[in-house]
């Protein structure tokens, strides 16, 4: 093989350019401002299941800097400074994520809408993605309903043992053990995602509070839910959004809980982004935000089975 050659064929790259142009005109028409924020950040992400890459050497570096895993924190600082609605198309990096739908370096579209809740943002996301992929309509399931419908378990009430039993019906996890969230994640990737494959655009919303990440927590039908959503298209996880947490105190507690989890599982703790916390303390407007994987969007637009088919040069050829 000629290793200098692109992974994607040139037609796919033309379609990629058309998708990017479509995104920019969508937001231009809606008065959403395009912004750019730094790729190299002084603090990383605490999320226990996301590992950043670190840049360690250089005369400009007083300390190692993290390649961003998403532009979320910097964009929230802009929102707190009064930017109004903003979007960004940015490279993001996640260590150890490699597969048919993952490349350690990938492109994210992220946008924020002050004054909109997560349901209103889902509507806008549907217009954007539906328009770009020429698809009509969508289905919406709460996290609870999608599990009840496709995995036959109630993700809020089932015990860890019941969730494990359901997972062991579809795969062999060996002697793996884990808390409820571990088995929920396995059921999501092994049962729910494949079940959504034939359903076009599907929103899943209101996640268990433990999976709220940076979303607000509210009580719905007697259970605490994170006001978070995911968009699946033909079973491909395409976008993740939040009704954003704006409380600086609670945000700090969640970061600290993440680091506690990291400590307990023998992974490095991450410094908290004090700039983000200070921005929240000064006042982040009520807003919703969403991050969408552009590579996967182009995969869907081109009918590609592998992310490398839509990247000029994937990890192994970069």
């Amino acid at each position: 093989m000629d290793r200098w050659r692109p992974d994607a064929d040139l037609d796919a790259l033309r379609q990629r350019a058309a998708v990017l142009a479509g995104i920019r005109s969508f937001f231009a028409a809606r008065g959403v401002l395009e912004v750019e924020t730094p790729l190299l950040c002084t603090s990383g992400i605490t999320d226990p299941s996301i590992e950043p890459l670190l840049v360690e050497r250089g005369n400009s570096l007083a300390a190692p800097r993290y390649l961003q895993t998403s532009p979320e924190y910097a964009m929230k600082r802009l929102l707190a400074a009064g930017s109004g609605p903003i979007f960004q198309i940015a490279r993001a990096f996640r260590d150890d994520e490699s597969g048919r739908r993952h490349n350690p370096e990938f492109t994210l579209l992220e946008w924020y809408r002050p004054g909109l809740d997560h349901h209103a943002l889902m509507d806008e996301l549907e217009q954007l993605v539906g328009g770009l992929l020429d698809r009509q309509g969508s289905k919406k399931f709460s996290y609870r309903d999608v599990f009840r419908e496709f995995a036959g378990v109630d993700p809020f009430l089932a015990t860890a043992a019941q969730l494990e039993a359901a997972a062991r019906e579809v795969t062999d996890p060996g002697s793996a053990h884990g808390p409820r969230e571990f088995w929920l994640d396995m059921l999501l990737t092994h049962v729910i995602e494949p079940a959504l494959a034939g359903l076009g655009l599907v929103f899943v919303y209101d996640y268990p509070a433990a999976q709220a990440a940076l979303a607000r927590i509210a009580e719905v039908d007697g259970v605490a839910v994170g006001q978070r959503f995911e968009l699946y298209v033909d079973g491909v996880e395409l976008a993740n959004g939040y009704n954003e947490l704006t409380d600086a105190v609670e945000q700090r507690q969640r970061f600290e809980r993440d680091n506690r989890l990291r400590r307990e599982t023998g992974r490095p703790e991450r410094p908290l982004d004090e700039n983000l916390l200070a921005a929240l303390a000064s006042g982040l407007p009520d807003c919703s935000g969403v991050a969408l994987g552009i590579d996967r969007l182009v995969m869907l637009a081109t009918g590609s089975e592998d992310i490398r088919q839509v990247q000029a040069f994937s990890w192994d050829r970069s």
Partner: protein, 190 residues
Amino acid sequence: MANYSTNEFRSGLKVMLDGEPCSILDNEFVKPGKGQAFNRVRMRNLKTGRVWDRTFKSGESLEGADVLDQTMEYLYTDGEFWYFMEPDTFEQHQADAKAVGDTHRWLKEQDRCEVTLYNGSPLSVEAANFVELEITETDPGLKGDTAQGGSKPATLSTGAVVKVPLFLSQGEIIRVDTRSGEYVGRAGKS
């Protein structure tokens, strides 16, 4: 042996799982939007032949298995064991019935085959994709009937029974696809 992390699992890699040598057939990285990443790995247990889907937490690792595929020459059987020889070193290996399995039906002396060694001993034996064997027993051939369909069983020198066209007779050498057990054609005259 070296350890291999889930992101190094490639088709063909041989690893130890629960004390058994296994071969990786396929490896898919899956991750929910947020949360635990997994590798769904299609594996074959090299001792039992069982193929199944195993899920690992991404980042888990397995020890490599001391498994080696080697082309060898089949020598003979004494009824209990089958004997193979490495063509370069002339080193001989004996394989038991479990390792040889159904492959014995295609083993002709001096033919090359693939022997999988585990810790230096034969774990499994695979015949070449195509072998040429003599028909030792079949109903008499129907002369002239070379075009039309219809077949009959023929016993080969190794004991294998395959379906052959009606025109073939005892003593002829035929070519067989060992993966399907099907007759492919007459071998060149030898």
